[in-house]
Symmetry: C2
Subunit: 138 residues, 2 copies
């Protein structure tokens, strides 16, 4: 099962402007900025209670975020749920008929193993499963 709404990922055009906007909206400063080379994105994270808001801006034309923003306005890109055992959850969801976008867990931002579920199989929502990688293994 999915144990927490770990973060919401928002696709934005201008990361500096969105960071300033979300700092004022949430009433809290970001706690982390991270470039994820494998996804060609720059990210900024805010903590809100037990969940995070992740702002994402593409850093190359091939970035999934850049391509998303070519077709859609700024807004929510994905919803990430925490899991304790990503491989077990991937197997459970495959058995339930969900379409996964990667066959194996991959390394995501914020020191996580991640897997995406196709939005067509989740009522229009791009769902991410994420499992924290222990510090010792990072």
């Amino acid at each position: 099962m999915l144990t927490n709404l770990e973060h919401l990922g928002l696709a934005v055009h201008d990361l500096a402007a969105a960071t300033e906007l979300y700092t004022r909206l949430l009433g809290v400063a970001p706690y982390k900025r991270e470039h994820v080379a494998s996804e060609a994105v720059d990210t900024v994270f805010f903590q809100v209670g037990g969940s995070k808001i992740e702002l994402l801006a593409g850093t190359s034309p091939s970035s999934a975020i850049t391509r998303f923003l070519e077709k859609k306005p700024e807004g929510i890109h994905h919803v990430a749920f925490e899991v304790d055992d990503i491989r077990a959850e991937m197997a459970r969801l495959r058995a339930e008929g969900f379409t996964l976008l990667n066959e194996e867990p991959k390394r995501g931002a914020d020191n996580k193993l991640v897997c995406f579920v196709h939005p067509k199989s989740a009522a229009g929502v791009l769902v991410e499963l994420c499992q924290s990688i222990p510090e010792s293994a990072a």
Copy 2:
């Protein structure tokens, strides 16, 4: 400040089908169903860690959810953040230049006072502030 990502609201066409789908996706059964006459919606709630997933289906052509789904595909309709004092947060956000969609807090689903922030002032996200109403005042 916003203290928790209280819930994600998802607009769906077929509440029964979406409830079945999200039960399988999240690996947990819904804990509440509620009709909100003032908003003309039927809702189904799932608890995931400290946050909720709220499925919403319109029950009249004038429902905001019905109108949303006339223009957009199924998916995330709003993101709700918990606040301790909704009137204080509304004043803070007004002073920060955000556009609020209601001047006074209104009664929402799940025993809350709610206020919406215009998505044009929040990078495309329809943000809800919500404050729990004490049981004794419900």
